[in-house]
């Protein structure tokens, strides 16, 4: 493994950032030109104040903390780096803060006061790297189990080293009870999950009840932590694609696209138009599929099984389409870096059109069943409501944020592929509750269909389905059999893998749950140095205990369904 040299410092000339920088002592902030967005190397001592300034200054307005992750550089003097990704919805601007840390002094200020979204991110950084956050109220492991020792994402941690959890070590919750809790008549602590049907298999909710009202609650996750990030570091760039499938397995294709686009950005590869076109269509179909599962299971949780059958119908049909493209139903691995797995099947367009004509009927049926149904309205209106302001502070993105009245959509704010040429709306509702989250998904299904229709009307672009670059994509088999050169490239690419130039990129796509970002660092070898997935579910689910406090248990169950938490993505 080559060692990554500390990056060269360059000055950026963004006036609003320079204005903020001028307020702090010289040398405490070093600006740097990133491949994708401006980068600041911030000294730890001023971090707290810098972040406050960035958030509250009307010129910068970085009101959303997207992501926090760590990186380990064993050969550097300042071995670790904490990396914050900031975003301003109002200005559409991004900023990356890097905080170098020495191994013997891994303490950072906790910035929960600025962004509540950091609650779980800081716990994750503690778990994975051992960073300690001064001022965090509940800094304990989040993804790994209680008997785990060491910090797995450090470079000196062996990827296969396991620790065995015994039953006596399982986490026992402690709650911040309100002051009057001793006077409660019927106080009771219950545990739901992790295998409770309403907890979708892998979440554990512990709640203190007063009668039927939840007074305090605690959530434990990590029951599906599959070490995606460590696995990416031990596999080549191409081999990470099957792993990304299993992040958000309800819409695996979007994950593929997100990851491939990140690597393509680092490689500076131009994807052929046919692949872009197909990627967009299949992404939108995947989004429909994901929304179908989410809405179907929400209604099952609320006791309505019929809609589940109706909504699984289009899903099965979309599976058929995906299978005809790549050969698998759910975990598709249909993208390759630089394009698609294979050429599109001849009946691709016809199948898509059939689906586009078919799906609205199912959506219509389900909407007739529930949209104005008072039973559903009573169960969902005003349940787990959150205002737009809070949602932004908690780092929400995607349909859940748009249901709270903030119309942030990556496809509109930072158009990638052909989204800027399409005519579509970003639906926004203002209820912020389960009912509006449900409705917004239905509206988005319609918008996705509209986009697919427009793309189909443009017709399939001709040409290759994968980039013609022997350093990135395998040469065609035909060339392989007939030309010596192609055969050599074929062997070289499989034995050595793709070599991605040194650098780092954060690239985002609109996933089914919100902004799906991949922050990837390359050291020029055939394996990613660090591959971090910004999972949209993660900050959303960290809000969950706050959302359900004060409601009843049945409200908690319905609101979990409405948030569409996918464990594979949440815990990676």
């Amino acid at each position: 493994m080559s060692t990554l040299a500390p990056p060269q410092v360059k000055t950026t000339a963004l006036p609003e950032l320079e204005a903020v920088r001028a307020k702090f002592p010289a040398g405490s902030i070093l600006p740097q030109e990133g491949l994708d967005q401006p980068v600041w190397i911030v000294s730890r001592d001023v971090l707290f104040e810098v972040c406050r300034e960035l958030k509250e200054n009307p010129q910068t307005q970085f009101d959303m903390m997207l992501d926090l992750c760590g990186v380990d550089f064993p050969d550097r003097e300042e071995r670790f780096e904490a990396i914050y990704h900031l975003y301003s919805i109002q200005r559409g601007a991004r900023l990356r803060l890097k905080v170098p840390l020495r191994e013997d002094d891994l303490v950072l200020p906790s910035m929960l006061k600025h962004w509540k979204a950091l609650d779980w991110f800081e716990r994750e950084a503690y778990d994975m790297f051992g960073f300690r956050f001064d001022g965090h109220p509940n800094l304990r492991r989040i993804l790994t189990h209680e008997a785990f020792q060491g910090h797995p994402l450090r470079k000196d941690y062996d990827a296969a080293k396991r620790w065995i959890l015994t039953e006596d070590k399982i986490y026992q919750p402690h709650f911040d009870l309100p002051d009057n809790s001793d006077d409660m008549f019927e106080r009771m602590t219950i545990n739901i999950g992790p295998t409770h049907p309403a907890m979708h298999g892998t979440f554990r909710l512990m709640a203190v009840l007063d009668g039927e009202t939840i007074v305090a609650s605690d959530v434990e996750i990590g029951y599906l932590h599959r070490c995606f990030e460590k696995m990416s570091e031990t596999h080549t760039w191409q081999h990470v694609i099957p792993y990304t499938d299993r992040l958000n397995y309800c819409s695996a294709f979007i994950n593929n696209v997100g990851y491939c686009k990140t690597v393509e950005k680092m490689l500076k590869v131009e994807v052929p138009p046919k692949a872009v076109w197909a990627r967009m269509i299949l992404s939108e179909f995947s989004r429909i599929m994901d929304h179908c599962v989410c809405n179907g299971t929400t209604l099952v949780d609320a006791g309505g099984l019929t809609s589940f059958w109706y909504l699984f119908q289009p899903r099965e049909e979309i599976y058929g389409l995906l299978e005809s493209v790549c050969g698998a139903r759910l975990t598709v691995s249909a993208c390759r870096i630089g394009g698609l797995i294979q050429d599109l099947p001849p009946d691709f367009e016809a199948r898509c059109r059939r689906l586009v004509d078919m799906i609205p009927q199912y959506v219509q049926d389900v909407e007739t069943l529930v949209n104005k149904n008072r039973i559903w309205i009573d169960r969902s209106v005003g349940v787990a409501a959150i205002s737009g302001e809070d949602a932004v502070n908690w780092g929400w993105t995607g349909p859940c944020l748009r249901a709270s009245g903030v119309g942030y959509d990556v496809r509109r704010a930072h158009p990638y592929d052909l989204y800027d040429t399409l005519d579509f709306e970003v639906p926004v509702l203002y209820g912020g509750d389960v009912y509006d989250r449900f409705r917004i998904r239905m509206l988005e299904i319609r918008e996705s269909l509209k986009m697919i229709k427009q793309l189909l009307d443009r017709g399939m672009p001709s040409g290759p389905w994968i980039v013609d670059d022997p350093h990135v994509a395998l040469p065609s088999k035909e060339a392989c059999y007939n030309q010596m050169e192609a055969m050599i490239y074929h062997f070289k690419l499989i034995m050595d893998g793709i070599h991605v130039p040194e650098g780092e990129v954060y690239n985002m796509v609109e996933g089914a749950n919100g902004e799906l970002g991949f922050y990837t660092i390359s050291d020029g070898t055939s394996k990613p140095y660090r591959n971090h997935c910004r999972a949209p579910c993660f900050p959303i689910f960290s809000t969950f205990p706050n959302l359900i406090n004060g409601g009843s248990i049945s409200d908690a169950i319905v609101s979990l369904g409405g948030l569409n938490i996918v464990a594979g993505e949440l815990e990676r």
Partner: protein
């Protein structure tokens, strides 16, 4: 029952009935955690409709189910939970391990993933695939059915043989030695 009234037409018919009802009414406990759980949902929904094989009564209580269907990755944090659920199930019980992760850990040779659920509980049928198609899962259920019938027959045969042996032994014991 055999002990009470001995082997007769009634008991053999009763055994046949018991066999028939057991193999046609597996009540699964879906221990679904990940991608395989989504495919399990497909298996239950209208395209594949697992109720054709009597397995539509999905029970989320281990006390009421007889097949533990482990669908999805089981990691070290989940392992004690899985073990506990298995222990809570009443006999007779069977385990289907669905998908690469549950069977062997799949391609997650990682610090937090169990390398196959057979580290903690016995498995009767492994269904490969990542995730298996619903047909694959149904095939697994059908295989389990056959296995159950086979085992019951073997068990009964053994029982009968041992009883016959006892009889002969007792007859031999009473016979005069010459």
């Amino acid at each position: 029952m055999n002990n009470m009234i001995g082997e007769s037409w009634v008991t053999t018919t009763f055994d046949t009935l018991e066999d028939w009802s057991t193999r046609n009414s597996f009540w699964p406990f879906p221990f679904g955690t990940a991608c395989c759980a989504i495919e399990f949902m497909s298996t239950v929904s209208s395209h594949y409709d697992v109720s054709r094989f009597g397995s539509e009564v999905v029970r989320f209580s281990p006390r009421q189910s007889d097949v533990l269907l482990v669908a999805g990755t089981i990691n070290d944090k989940m392992a004690p939970v899985l073990k506990k659920i298995y222990d809570q199930m009443p006999d007779p019980k069977w385990v289907i391990s669905m998908g690469a992760c549950a069977c062997s850990g799949g391609f997650y040779r990682a610090y937090h993933v169990m390398q196959g659920i057979d580290e903690v509980i016995p498995v009767d049928v492994y269904v490969p695939g990542c995730p298996p198609t619903p047909e694959g899962l149904i095939y697994g259920i059908l295989q389990l059915k056959e296995k159950v019938i086979r085992e019951r027959e073997r068990f009964r045969k053994q029982n009968r043989e041992s009883k016959d042996q006892e009889k002969t032994q007792s007859v031999n014991a009473g016979a005069p030695t010459s």
